[in-house]
Amino acid sequence: MRARLLGVAVGLALADSSIVTLALPEILGQFDVAITSVAWVLTSFNLVLALLAVPAAYVSRRRPREAFVSGSLVFAAASLACGLAPSFEVLVGARCVQAVGAALVVTAALDLLARVQGGDEQALRTWVAAGILGAALGPAAGGVLTQVLGWESIFLVQVPLALALLFAVRGVTGRPTRTPAGRPSLTANSALLLVAGGLVAALFLVVLLLVDGWGMSPAAAGVVVTAIPLVAIVVGRLRPSSLGPVQGIACGVILLAGGLVALALMPRAGWGWTIPPQILVGAGLGLTVGGLTEHALRKRPDQVVHGGWTIAARHAGVVVGLVLLAPVLTTALEENRDEAIRAGAAVVLDSEIPPLDKLGVAQDVLAEVDRANDVGELPDVERAFEGRPDDDEWRALVDGLQEQLDRAVTSAFSGPFLLAAALTLCALVPVALMRRRVA
C-alpha cells in the first residue's frame, strides 16, 4: 500500500509537466496574455524541474523522509496558489514553486520506495512505471477536469491528494546515503533528453490536434490518448526476455520515431487515424524511457542522485521540445490559415447555394475566422452558419468548408510531428555509444 502511494506521488508530481495542456485556451481566455506567453504555464514547471531535480536529489539522499514531506507540502501549497491565482504572473510563479515540490517528492520517493519494497531493483521498476504513467496520463486527466470543473480544478484536486500522500511515509525511515554518487550516464541521459523532446509531440500535440484542431471534447480526447500509456504498460510487461537492454531501447526509438512520422502522414482527420500511430508511440515509450532510466541508474552507488539526473534530462527534453515545436506549429497554422481561407472561398463560390447568399456566407465565415484568431482558437464552421437553412446544398457547403479546415489544421501539425521524429531519431547516436560501452 505504501509503495502504491509513493508511486501515486511520483505519477502525480510528473503528471504536472503535461496536465495543463488542454487548459491553455481557458487560461488564455481568463488572463489577458498573448498566445505565445500562455505556454509558460507548461514551460516554467518543466524548466524548474529540469534545473532543480539534481540539487533536490542531493537533498533527498541525505534526508529522504523530510525531503518527501516538505516536497509534498510545498507541492500542495503551490497547487492551491495555482488554483486561486488572481493573475497570470502569480500562476506562472506558483507553477515554478510547484516544480520545486515535485523535484523533492520524485527524488525522495525513489529512496523511500527502496525502503518500503526492500530492494533497489523493485523500487526502480515502480518509480519508472509511475513516472511514465503520470506523464502520459497528464493531458487526459487535465482535459477531463477542465471540461467538467474548469481549469482551476486541475490544481485544486491536487491539494488534498498531495496531503493524503503524506500517509505513505508514516513510520518509514529513510537511509541517508554518504557514498559519492559518481558521474551520471551521459549517453543514457542525453538519449532520454532527445526522446522526451520527441514525446512532447505525442503527448501534447496529439491532444491539441484532437481538441482544438478537430473539435473533440476534452473528455473524449482524454479517452483516445490513453492508448499511449496502455500500450506502454502492455509492452513493458510483455517485453521478450531475449531482447537485450540496449537493443530494446533502439527498437523503442525506431517505434517512437515511426509513430511520430505516421502522425505527420495521417490521410484524413478523425481520432481513429491517431490510434495506429499512438500504438507505435506507446510501444516506443514502453521500451525507451524505462530502459534508458534503468540503464542510467542500475548498479550505480546512489540511485537517488542518478534518478535526479534522469528527471533533469527528461524535463530538459520537454522544454527543448516545447521551445522547438511550438513556433513551428504556430507558423504552420498561420500559413495554412491563408491557404484554407482561399480554399474555403473556392468552396463557397462553387457551391450550389443561391448566388445571392454567397457573399453573405463568405462574410460570416471570415468574421468567424477573425473571431477565432483573436481568442487563439480555430474557427467553428457550424457557428458561421447559425440561422442558415439546413438542406442538402447548405450541408454540402458546411461539409466542404469543414473539410478544408481539417486539411489545413492536420497538415499544419505535420511539420512539428516530423521535427519531433527527427529529434527522437537523434537518440540513436547515444544509444549506439551505450551499446559499444556495454559490449
Binding site: 515511426g258 505516421a262 500504438i279 481561407i341 472561398a345 473556392a346 486539411r407 492536420t410
Partner: protein
C-alpha cells in the same frame, strides 16, 4: 542477424502503419489548391437570371485575376470591402486606381462576352455594364447579384 532482427521487426511495424497511410493520401491532406483563373471552368448551364449574373461576375473576376496573376479567390476576398481592396493592392504592389480600372474593364469584358454568346438577355446587358462602370469595385459583386433579384 539475431542482433538486427528486433530492429527489422520494429521497422516492419512502422512500415505497416506508414505505407498504408501514404497510399491513402497521407502527406497530401492539405487545403485544396485553388484553380488557375486562366483556365476555362466547366460549369452546368445557369438556371435563372440570378445564376447567369453570378456566372458573368465570376467570369469577369477570373479574367481580372488571370491578368493580375492572382487567384480568383484572392480577388473575391479583396472585393469584400474597401479596406480589403486597399490591403490587396498594397500586398500585390499594384496601383490602387489601376487595379480598380482593371476590375471594371474585366467585368465589362465579361458582360460583352456573355451578351455576344447570348447567355445574357439583351435588355439586361446594358444595365449590368452600367453597374460595372459606376459602382465601386468592393460593391460590384453584391450589386450584380442583387440585380438578379430585382430583374424579372
Amino acid at each position: 542477424m539475431r542482433r538486427v532482427a528486433p530492429l527489422l521487426v520494429s521497422l516492419g511495424l512502422v512500415a505497416a502503419v506508414v505505407v498504408p497511410y501514404l497510399a491513402l493520401g497521407g502527406g497530401r491532406f492539405e487545403p485544396a489548391p485553388v484553380a488557375d483563373p486562366c483556365e476555362t471552368r466547366e460549369r452546368p448551364d445557369a438556371d435563372g437570371l440570378a445564376e447567369t449574373l453570378e456566372r458573368v461576375a465570376l467570369a469577369g473576376v477570373d479574367g481580372v485575376a488571370c491578368e493580375l496573376g492572382v487567384s480568383r479567390e484572392e480577388l473575391v476576398l479583396a472585393l469584400r470591402s474597401e479596406e480589403a481592396l486597399t490591403a490587396f493592392s498594397e500586398e500585390q504592389g499594384l496601383d490602387r486606381d489601376e487595379l480598380e480600372q482593371a476590375i471594371t474593364d474585366g467585368l465589362v469584358r465579361a458582360v460583352d462576352d456573355a451578351e455576344e454568346a447570348g447567355s445574357l438577355p439583351g435588355f439586361v446587358a446594358p444595365l449590368v455594364r452600367r453597374a460595372a462602370e459606376s459602382v465601386p469595385p468592393w460593391l460590384i459583386l453584391e450589386t450584380l447579384e442583387s440585380l438578379g433579384e430585382f430583374l424579372p
